[in-house]
Amino acid sequence: MMEQGRIPPLQMSAIMFPTILATAVLSVPSVTMGYAGHDMWMTPLLASLVGLLAICIAYRLNIRHPQLTPIEFSVLILGKVPGKLFGLFFVFYLVQLNGTVLREYGEFILSAILPQTPLFVVMGSLMFLCAVNVISGLEVLGRTAVILTTLMAALLTIVLLLLIPEWRTNEWLPFAEKGVKPIFKGAVAPASWLSEYFFLSFVLPFVTKRERIWRVSLISLGVTTFTMMAVNISCLFLLGDVTDRFVYPMMIAARYISYADFLQHLEAVIIAIWITGILIKISFFLYLTALSAAQLLQLKDYRPLVFPLAFLTVVFSFWVISNQSELASQLGAVGNLYTLFALILLPGLLLLVAAIRKSRSPSSE
């Protein structure tokens, strides 16, 4: 086995929380309002069904092959060539996805606090940190996640609570002004975020206390959905119909907090939330990339691949997009459908084939 480390389910969910939310906190309110108008507060709720589907797929596949990651069992399920192609797709998909996430981080930091700093320095320094985190193994990643996720959740809770007095609760009316269809359209974006729950499939082989996996995954999904809704609701109640005019509504919201003339300028807190979250998210994706690439090429260890892949990801982050507007369209409809294709449809088909061919690891009960 390539990965000797084992993580408990709690650390698994601590990894998933920032993996979904780090980017979602900033983009989802604006993107969902673009489609669903002021009914966007409920889009995460609909999207959680897709998250549930992703978890189901990952979990069912794991039951069939408890010791293997998708890169390994795809070969068993689909046969050698199609299986390897599936793995190859995922390696490239992960690099590209991670590149986009890294670029999102870079764009945000540049537009919010460090406009003069070269993009490469901002992204490169974070990537270096992530690579060091990943090369230390899954257990270190899990523990980092527990510490930073706690921090992130605490800061986010503080910001959301401080915003409550500014709420104008009637902003949610009228419900379904333009019918129900826009709500479903709006739900596609959070759905593509929540479909990242499929990545559980890559770490489930290394999770201890297997009997608790299902329950912990569901609780994790619940918490993530709830947080997404809380963020959407506070943006809606604060900014109302102008939410989607801002690139990062949550940033505007945090800047709006002002208590007694001294508790203000809290945008730094949002940046702290973002950086702690994104560190875990990029580390996790980099880990998955390195692990998948190593398994695809049947190497003995994934560690030598971490730094080269980290570098490749930085390069990809420059390749995927060239400016903030392109990033927005990448996160728009096309990007979302692509994500859903890669993380729901493909794995779903894999599960279907596995069920038809009754593919099972011999060791599983």
Binding site: A112, G240, D241
Partner: protein
């Protein structure tokens, strides 16, 4: 011997881990190189911004800048008894340009420090700019990174720079003065975020507080200028439509649920003298109605309560009869100001300054979607039923009128 061993060991580690140590040391080289580093003593912290327009149409941007040295004072510099004087803690600079972005650069050219707008808590628009439309500036303020969405926005009938130019004695700067005045809610408390919501909202109108420097002649000293809140300004889309003085604004503020600090005085039936009430709470509730015949109407229920602060009539103010009469008189006065404010908005200005459009959209989304385009005409003809309920809860320190012989006081 031990020292030797340790020394050797350290040396070996240095050689073996040389790569890592070099890496860590090389990181140190990068760490101080923050491209965006700006020391606080390189910043010119702007406390308030003013936007004016010159007669030729150029934008004139004025900035009230904090002077750290003057404000510092403290124990070292100021050991004399007169430590309290904080005037001169700010300086004012202005620059013109064909656009606000050009004006900002012009302004920067006049300063040795980087302009920093992150603490600009007040933005004042001059009348010339407001007449022409404030949209370009709204976009700039909501896009340019440093400006705060929480900044209070005011409008002045003259030039914004003349408001920022004042040196208040009570506060450190006019910026602070205007912010405190805003918090007191003598007019509309409107932040940059609220303003853009109002203009982009369904009614496409906005209401801002008017501030104006007024001359205040002291008895033995030369006259001084001081900031004062002078009613509200009504915007049609982003253009100034009209300014209402404080008395005219009462009905409008009442209908927008913004009235907080206010006194009312009125006479009573069959008595001489006046009764004055200090407002404690005002709450307006709206019920938009569209009848099956397609008639749009609005029901407004205003509930106010206040405390008695003056009674110059000759009536015992503890009697129920007196309170009933006072409530009635207060109610009539409020109804009148609300009605006149409604008539003003519907007939003269023809601007939905009360955000009725939002209410109709929220309660009747389907009808609203159909009639959105005709809202201007609908609003002009919209029947509004006003109900005012007044309550006088307390009578102050005195149960009977003061300064009047006991036998002159009527029991009822």
């Amino acid at each position: 011997m031990n020292v030797w061993k340790t020394g050797l060991k350290t040396g070996r580690i240095l050689v073996e881990k040389g790569g890592l140590i070099t890496l860590i040391l090389s990181l140190l080289l990068v760490l101080p190189g923050c491209w965006d580093r700006k020391e606080i003593n390189d910043l010119a912290i702007v406390l308030a911004a003013g936007v004016d327009m010159t007669p030729s149409g150029a934008v004139e941007l004025s900035a009230q800048i904090f002077i750290p040295r003057a404000a510092g004072g403290g124990p070292q510099g100021n050991t004399g008894g007169s430590g309290g004087n904080v005037t001169g803690a700010t300086l004012l600079r202005k620059a013109t340009g064909k656009d606000i972005d050009e004006a900002i650069i012009e302004l920067q050219r006049k300063l040795s420090r980087y302009l920093f707008w992150g603490h600009s808590e007040v933005i004042v628009f001059g009348k010339a700019v407001a007449d022409k439309g404030i949209r370009p500036y709204l976009d700039f303020f909501l896009r340019y990174l440093q400006f705060r969405e929480h900044a209070y926005v005011y409008v002045t009938p003259g030039r914004a720079i003349s408001v920022l130019d004042l040196q208040p004695l009570l506060e450190r700067s006019t910026s602070e003065e205007l912010r405190e005045m805003g918090n007191m809610k003598l007019g509309m408390l409107v932040t940059l975020k609220r303003l853009t919501q109002m203009i982009e909202g369904d009614s496409q109108s906005a209401v801002l507080t008017v501030v104006d420097p007024v001359s205040w002649r002291q008895v033995n000293k030369p006259a001084q200028m001081t900031t004062a809140i002078q009613g509200v300004a009504v915007f049609d889309k982003d253009k100034l439509a009209s300014m209402l003085d404080s008395r005219e604004a009462i009905g409008l503020l009442l209908l927008r649920n913004e009235l907080e600090t206010m006194n009312f005085s009125f006479g009573l039936q069959d008595t001489e003298g006046v009764v004055a009430v200090h407002l404690i709470r005002a709450n307006a509730r709206f019920t938009p109605k569209i009848t099956p015949f397609g008639e749009w109407r609005m029901e407004v229920d205003i509930q106010v309560s206040g405390d008695l602060i003056q009674n110059t009539t000759n009536t015992n103010n503890m009697s129920n009869d007196f309170i009933r009469k006072a409530k009635e008189a207060w109610k009539l006065q409020l109804v009148e100001s609300v009605e006149s404010s409604l008539a003003n908005a519907q007939k003269r200005l023809q601007i939905d300054v009360f955000d009725f459009a939002v209410l109709f959209r929220k309660h009747y989304p389907r009808e609203w979607a159909k009639n959105k385009q005709q809202w201007d005409t609908i609003f002009r003809e919209l029947p509004v039923d006003v109900t005012v309920r007044t309550e006088i809860t307390r009578v102050g320190k005195s149960g009977l009128p003061q300064g009047m012989p006991a036998d002159k006081i009527r029991k009822k």
